[in-house]
Structures are given as structure tokens and as C-alpha cells.
């Protein structure tokens, strides 16, 4: 069964909904205007470049207070993004009505870091007998997926995948599988992440964060020095292409193919030496795509070694496909930051024809990489794009999206 993407929902520093995600993608940088200003948040004490926060946004239109009462930030943002995605797809916000149940596949890196920290704090300061049941039920990794299913009555497969930066692409692939195999009528697939001052400090101590004071990450740039942390949620609606057409839905893109692999030379928090081979593996997946690629939506985030891995992956892909040059490479994390799953939303939007500006922070290519972000507009519209992500720890995942609507 062919798989269609019919809606995008997102909650991030850029605001909520597909239009605000697309606005920041067209800008190529985190929005600084009033409309897209990072939401005010009472948590202070950020080290390195302040993260792009989203959790304090008013989501009451999508998640009314009685339901939000017991949700952690990732759950709340995931439910809001899921409902937005359904709305974008022209489906009921309360959940699709079908005999075949709807599925949910979400990815997260740390679940509710905030509630986890609170519990650890409670154990130390007050004693283990005073741990909050609320916090515990919400700090399991599958809380967001469970809350999405609960809020939508989604009774199909409910799966939470974890693969760091590549998690959201894996979630897309897993969701597409469930649709292709006829095991769900609709799948809400995406990611939800929350950033806390402690987590931010930990990332800084791992050397992962950009230290630049202008708050901009520089994917593929020679002077890149780290990623820009973000939080938020992205959800896309997946359904059988035929069903989407039958109900007259506007199809954003088809998910043509997908794949994943691993570089065992990686370390637990680093990338390995054989990411190139994963590009070769991805090229094999492409034999089942219906045509050449118009663009690549890379997971490059501004991380010195992460972007090197992403570039190496693309070099392997190019060589295996026998291409003289790579298709235009887009690096949306320059606008959205890392975490929150936005780059799958960006990939679907790009496939459907939305403009994706090069990262505003990019100034000089890194000769060692042989890859730089595309400047200027993209030639075709809609487009066939490859979305890829190489995670620290060794995993990589990719999918091919073929746009349908301008």
C-alpha cells in the first residue's frame, strides 16, 4: 500500500502549526520577529547559546486545560502537534473515525526531562516515599505517545522509538510501515522533546552546543561549533494514498521508501568512521524510489563531528548513485535547532514545495566536507527529497518523500 503524508503539526519556538514552521524555514534562522520570538519561560540559567524554547506556549486551543492538567511538556506539545496535523489533513481533531484503528509512532530523546529531574530531586530531598505518581507516569519515554493515543482514541499500534537525532526519521519510517502493511488506517508519527537548564548544561559539557552569542547554528559551515538546542514536537499524518485520494485530501507527499543502518565504529556519544557506507546503503533503498532526487534534507545541525558524518553519508550516497554532483542540500536545523523532530516536518514541507532558505549562519564552506547548503531557490516544485539523519552512537535513518502539492 502506498503511503501519503496529508498533514503536519508542530510546536516550537517558531510558534505552532505548519505555517509558522514554514515561515521559519523560509527565513533560514530562528525567528526574531514578534510573531516568532522564543516563548518567554521562567527557567533561567542557560549556559552557551540559549535554547529555542517552546513549552510555555499557550496550547489551550489544541489541548484544553482539563486534559493538559496531568501532561508533561512533551506530552502537551505532542498532543497539540498531533491535533494540528489532523486539522491540517482535514481530519477530525478528536481523532480519525475508522474501523481500522489509528496508530501512533513517536520518538523522544529524554522524554520529560523536567519531571525526571523533579523525581530525582524528590528522592534526594524529601525521600523516595514522597515521589509523585503524576511525575512518574509522565517521565516514561512512551508518555507522549500514550497521551496522543488517549486524546485521539487511537487504538492501533503504539510505539515509541529512540535513536537520538535519527529517532524522528525512524518514527516516520516505522509509521509508514504500519500503513503500508495495512495495520493502521492513519498513523500520527513524529517526535517530542523538552529542554531543561540541567539538560542544556549537560549538552554544553559534552561540547555539543554552539557557543556563539548570536544564537545561530552553522550547519556545514567551516566555523561551525555546535548545535542549537531546541524543544518542541512535530507530528505528521500518514495514511494510505488511496484512502487519502478517496476522501479528497490534499496530499503533501508520498513516502516512497525508507531505510536505516548503523556504523559500529561509533562511540556512545560520537560518530564513527564508516558513515559513508551508510550512504551506500541508502543508495540501495533509492532503487525503489520512483525517480531522481531533487533535494536532500540533511540532519546537519552545526555539530563539528555530526555534520562531518552527515557529509560523509552524502558522499557515500553520491558515489553509489554515480551522481556527478549532489542534489541541492538543505539544512533546516539552522532555522529550527536540534530536538523536537522538526526536520521531518521540514522535509515534508520541502517536498510539497515550501521554500527552505540556506542556514543564515552559513558563511564559508568546509572543504573537508565537500558539502554545502544550497543557495537560491530550488528548481522543481513539488520535489522528491531524501531526508536523512546520522545520530551520535552510530544509527542512521533515511526516507524518500515525493511531493504532490505546490
Amino acid at each position: 500500500m502506498k503511503v501519503a503524508v496529508t498533514g503536519i503539526g508542530a510546536v516550537g519556538a517558531f510558534g505552532t502549526g505548519r505555517a509558522s514552521l514554514e515561515a521559519v524555514l523560509a527565513l533560514g534562522a530562528p525567528a526574531k520577529t514578534a510573531a516568532g520570538r522564543p516563548a518567554p519561560d521562567s527557567r533561567r540559567g542557560w549556559s552557551a547559546s540559549p535554547p529555542l524554547l517552546a513549552a510555555a506556549q499557550d496550547l489551550s486551543e489544541w489541548v484544553p486545560q482539563p486534559q493538559a492538567r496531568r501532561m508533561s511538556a512533551p506530552s502537551r506539545m505532542a498532543v497539540a502537534a498531533a491535533r494540528q496535523a489532523l486539522h491540517d489533513a482535514g481530519l477530525p481533531r478528536t481523532g480519525p473515525d475508522s474501523e481500522v484503528p489509528a496508530g501512533v509512532v513517536m520518538s523522544t530523546s529524554w522524554g520529560s526531562a523536567h519531571y525526571t529531574e523533579r523525581i530525582l530531586d524528590q528522592i534526594r530531598r524529601e525521600g523516595p516515599e514522597f515521589v509523585s505518581p503524576f511525575y512518574f507516569t509522565e517521565c516514561v519515554a512512551n508518555a507522549a505517545a500514550a497521551q496522543v493515543a488517549l486524546s485521539l482514541g487511537a487504538r492501533g499500534p503504539n510505539i515509541t522509538v529512540a535513536q537520538r537525532e535519527a529517532g524522528v526519521v525512524l518514527a516516520l519510517a516505522r509509521g509508514a510501515r504500519e500503513i503500508a502493511a495495512g495495520r493502521a488506517s492513519v498513523v500520527l508519527a513524529g517526535a517530542a522533546d523538552e529542554m531543561t537548564p540541567t539538560l542544556h548544561m549537560i549538552l554544553a559539557r559534552f561540547g555539543a552546543l554552539s557557543l556563539s552569542s548570536d544564537g545561530v547554528a552553522r550547519p556545514f559551515d567551516r566555523g561551525r561549533d555546535g548545535l542549537l538546542a531546541a524543544e518542541g514536537a512535530t507530528v505528521v499524518v500518514l495514511e494510505p494514498l488511496e484512502a487519502a485520494r478517496r476522501r479528497g485530501a490534499r496530499v503533501l507527499a508520498r513516502v516512497e521508501t525508507w531505510g536505516c543502518g548503523f556504523d559500529p565504529t561509533a562511540g556512545p556519544v560520537s560518530w564513527g568512521r564508516e558513515t559513508r557506507l551508510l550512504g551506500t546503503r541508502a543508495a540501495r533503498s533509492l532503487s525503489s524510489a520512483d525517480g531522481p532526487l531533487d533535494a536532500i534534507v540533511s540532519g546537519a545541525s552545526g555539530s563539528p563531528s555530526g555534520d562531518r558524518a552527515e557529509a560523509s553519508f552524502l558522499q557515500g550516497l553520491k558515489a553509489a548513485l554515480g551522481l556527478p554532483v549532489l542534489p541541492p542540500v538543505l539544512a533546516p536545523k539552522g532555522a529550527t535547532g536540534e530536538y523536537g523532530g522538526f526536520h521531518v516536518g521540514a522535509a515534508v514541507a520541502a517536498a510539497a514545495g515550501a521554500p527552505v532558505a540556506p542556514p543564515a549562519g552559513f558563511s564559508a564552506p568546509d572543504a573537508e566536507l565537500g558539502v554545502e547548503p544550497h543557495r537560491g531557490s530550488l528548481p522543481r516544485c513539488p520535489r522528491r527529497v531524501l531526508v536523512s539523519s546520522c545520530a551520535s552512537g552510530g544509527a542512521a535513518a533515511w526516507a524518500v518523500l515525493s511531493g504532490e502539492t505546490a
Binding site: 501512533v104 523522544t108 525526571t116 530531586d121 515521589v131 512512551n142 487504538r155 495495520r183 548503523f262 557506507l277
Partner: protein, 412 residues
């Protein structure tokens, strides 16, 4: 017809010890593994027992490169994975791009994270190295790096259904030809947060758990890892590998009812079981026994029983039910994996593992619980044995996996 997928190796780390041997000895003799918690100070927790893994034998630690840098759940995972590959005849060669790893966990690197936060709060130096393998991809990635897997590597963290969902993903990968061999399993390490959390929900029994008993009072947390080597039947035949059992099918669903309580009519569980049967092209009448989720919380068995009745009808009360958690405790993210391993063992030996003798069975969930002594499986009239393993998670995610006896039995 989809490719047939078989199990060619098993590996485990549990409270019984490091290796499949001690685990099977405990399971076959029905010896419960819970004891006093030593991992952390449990004096202020409501309950004080768990099924803890004993310290690793020196030989195991010495054989695994980078042992010191691995988190606890990584260590359990890597040790179990190596054992499984050795038993399958695929170690140390036989990995690479054709091998995938599909792993489930819930706690991952949380014990190390707890140490980090403790130091942070005490104002002491807190090394971030403790958080290297904190997220749920930790154990699966550690296995992939250790064995040199370059194929699909996916980690699932859907609470108690993680292990079963990992098996489901591995089954699909082999069927679709995305990997020629897959390590499917789970790993979980006891941590204070999880223990305190389940106690906050008043879900933990102060005594070793008593699945299906009327007086049951909650779960017993366990830790460890279990790994199964899955490959296509053709591949196993080609290399003359031992075939322990077949993975017939898998199904998944969600209750979408409540964040902690299961659906009272077991509707989600029934849907997952039916999806597994459909995937395996089998009927309820084909199932010889059920390895139930059976956490021993008051609500789980009621809900699970309704699902069993719904699917199996009049047969329900006659189908033998195995409650592995009565022996191993609840391994959370690894539960589905260790229960799959237990199921494979029974398919090889034809003997079902007994829960300890205990009090009256709950008349509202009158399962034919195997207990007191092992139950020898009878002849099923020329068909082969089929076992159903259910995993019904916190948050409502359900998974069910069906296993069948190998066409040619192999020894364990």
C-alpha cells in the same frame, strides 16, 4: 507467503546469573528469584525486594571490550547478545551489514543518571561520562557496536511492551529481507526512580509477586537482559544452524483508555492478540499455551483475563497459562524478551515452567496457571505447539507474539 523466521540462539542475564543456563534452571524448577534490594538503600521505599542481577563473573567482564565504560543495562545487553550469537554459531564472525539489532528498554542508563544527579545535588563533581548511554537507544546501540552490526538498528521504549515490540520489528525486518539476521531483545537495570515510581502508584507487592492469585498485591521489579537471534529459515538451513523455535507472528495495539489502568474489558489486549494471530495466519484454536503478561497487579490480570476470554471463548479456562514474572520479576523493557526466551525453551523441551505454589486463584480470572510443578505438553494431534506471549504496557501499548515449535527440534 512471508519468509519463515526462526530462532537460532538465545542469551540472558538475570537474577539467576549471567547466562541462559542459570535462568533456565530457575525457570524449569519454578524457583522465584527476588531477594532483598542491595543496589540502593531501600529502607525508605515502601517495598524492599527485587530480582537483582548478581555481580558479573570476572571472565564476562574481561571478554567485553570497554566494559568499564558501559552502563549496567548496556552490560547486560552485550553479554546476553554475545551468548545468543555464540549459541547460534555466529560469533565472532557473521555480523556486518546483514545484521540488525532491535532492542527494548525502559530504564536504559537511569542508574548512572541517578548517580550523576546525586553528585550534582551534593555540589560534588559530576562527570558527564555517566550519561554517555542514558537514552533508550543505549543498550541496543551498545550491542550493535560490540557485535559489529551495520544493518537496521532500532530501539523501542514503550514501557512493558518494549521487548515484544522489538521482536515484532525484528520479525518484520527478516521477512522483508532488510536483514539476514537480527538480534532481538531487551535490557533493563534496576534503578531507584523506577522503583520509587511504581511504589508511588502502589503497584508493588512487598512480597514476591503472585500472578493470578486472589490475594495478589502488585508486581516485583526485576532486571536483566534477554536476546534472541532471529534469521530466515532458509538462512538457518543454509548454515546448518540449530533451530530452536519459529516466530510465527506479532501484533500491536493501544488501549487508549487511561495512562496507567488497563482497559477493563481487555479490549486493547484482545486486539493485539488477534493482530498476532492474523499476522501468523493462525486461529485461536491453534494456541497451545499462553505466556501471560501477568504482572500480579490487581487490575492487570482482570483485564488480561477478559481479553483471553474474548479471544479464546469457552477454551479460555483450559489453556495452560505460564506466569514467568512469578519467577523473574517484571523486567519492564526486557520483559517481552525474557518471556520470549522462556517460551522458546518450553517449545524445545515440551515442558511449561511452573509458578510457585500459592493461594487461591482469583475466581474472576480463573486461568489454568501452571504452578507447583512443570507441566509436560501433550500431543496436539499432529500439529505443532504454538505459544502466545502477551505484553501489556503502562500507557496502554500492547504487543503479542506467537511462537511455534521448530519443524526439527534442536537441543538447548
Amino acid at each position: 507467503m512471508p519468509r519463515r523466521v526462526v530462532v537460532t540462539g538465545i542469551g540472558a542475564v538475570s537474577a539467576a546469573g549471567w547466562g541462559v543456563g542459570p535462568l533456565l534452571e530457575a525457570l524449569r524448577s519454578g524457583r522465584p528469584l527476588a531477594g532483598s534490594i542491595t543496589r540502593f538503600d531501600a529502607s525508605r521505599h515502601r517495598t524492599r525486594i527485587a530480582a537483582e542481577v548478581p555481580p558479573a563473573p570476572a571472565a564476562v567482564a574481561a571478554a567485553i571490550p570497554g566494559w568499564r565504560r558501559l552502563s549496567r543495562s548496556d552490560r547486560y545487553a552485550v553479554a546476553a547478545a554475545r551468548e545468543a550469537l555464540v549459541r547460534a554459531g555466529r560469533f565472532p564472525r557473521g555480523s556486518g551489514p546483514e545484521m540488525g539489532v532491535f532492542f527494548g528498554t525502559s530504564t536504559a542508563g537511569m542508574p548512572e543518571c541517578e548517580r550523576f544527579h546525586e553528585r550534582l545535588q551534593a555540589g560534588a563533581f559530576a562527570p558527564v561520562a555517566l550519561l554517555r548511554s542514558q537514552e533508550a537507544n543505549g543498550p541496543g546501540d551498545a550491542v550493535a557496536r560490540d557485535v559489529g552490526a551495520a544493518g537496521p538498528v532500532e530501539s523501542v521504549s514503550s514501557a512493558c511492551s518494549s521487548g515484544a515490540l522489538a521482536l515484532r520489528a525484528a520479525l518484520e525486518a527478516i521477512r522483508d529481507g532488510e536483514a539476514a539476521v537480527a538480534l532481538a531483545g531487551g535490557s533493563d537495570a534496576l534503578c531507584e526512580l523506577t522503583h520509587a515510581g511504581f511504589n508511588a502508584l502502589r503497584s508493588v507487592d512487598a512480597a514476591p509477586c503472585r500472578p493470578f492469585e486472589e490475594q495478589r498485591a502488585g508486581l516485583t521489579i526485576g532486571e536483566g537482559a534477554a536476546v534472541l537471534v532471529l534469521e530466515s529459515e532458509d538462512e538457518a538451513e543454509r548454515r546448518g544452524a540449530p533451530v530452536l523455535a519459529e516466530v510465527l507472528g506479532a501484533g500491536a495495539s493501544c488501549d487508549a483508555h487511561h495512562m496507567t489502568a488497563p482497559h477493563p474489558q481487555g479490549a486493547g489486549a484482545a486486539r493485539a492478540i488477534r493482530a498476532a494471530l492474523f499476522d501468523a495466519l493462525r486461529d485461536p484454536g491453534d494456541v497451545t499455551w499462553i505466556n501471560a503478561h501477568a504482572t500480579a497487579t490487581p487490575q492487570n490480570e482482570l483485564s488480561e483475563w477478559k481479553a483471553i476470554e474474548d479471544v479464546f471463548g469457552a477454551r479460555a479456562a483450559a489453556i495452560p497459562v505460564v506466569a514467568t514474572k512469578s519467577l523473574t520479576g517484571h523486567l519492564l523493557g526486557a520483559a517481552g524478551a525474557i518471556e520470549a526466551l522462556a517460551t522458546v525453551d518450553s517449545l524445545v523441551t515440551g515442558m511449561l515452567h511452573p509458578a510457585p505454589e500459592g493461594g487461591l486463584i482469583d475466581p474472576r480470572a480463573p486461568a489454568a496457571l501452571v504452578r507447583g510443578g512443570a507441566l509436560r505438553l501433550g500431543d496436539v494431534g499432529g500439529r505443532s505447539w504454538v505459544a502466545l506471549s502477551t505484553s501489556l504496557a503502562f500507557g496502554g501499548s500492547n504487543a503479542a507474539v506467537l511462537f511455534g515449535a521448530a519443524a526439527r527440534a534442536a537441543g538447548v
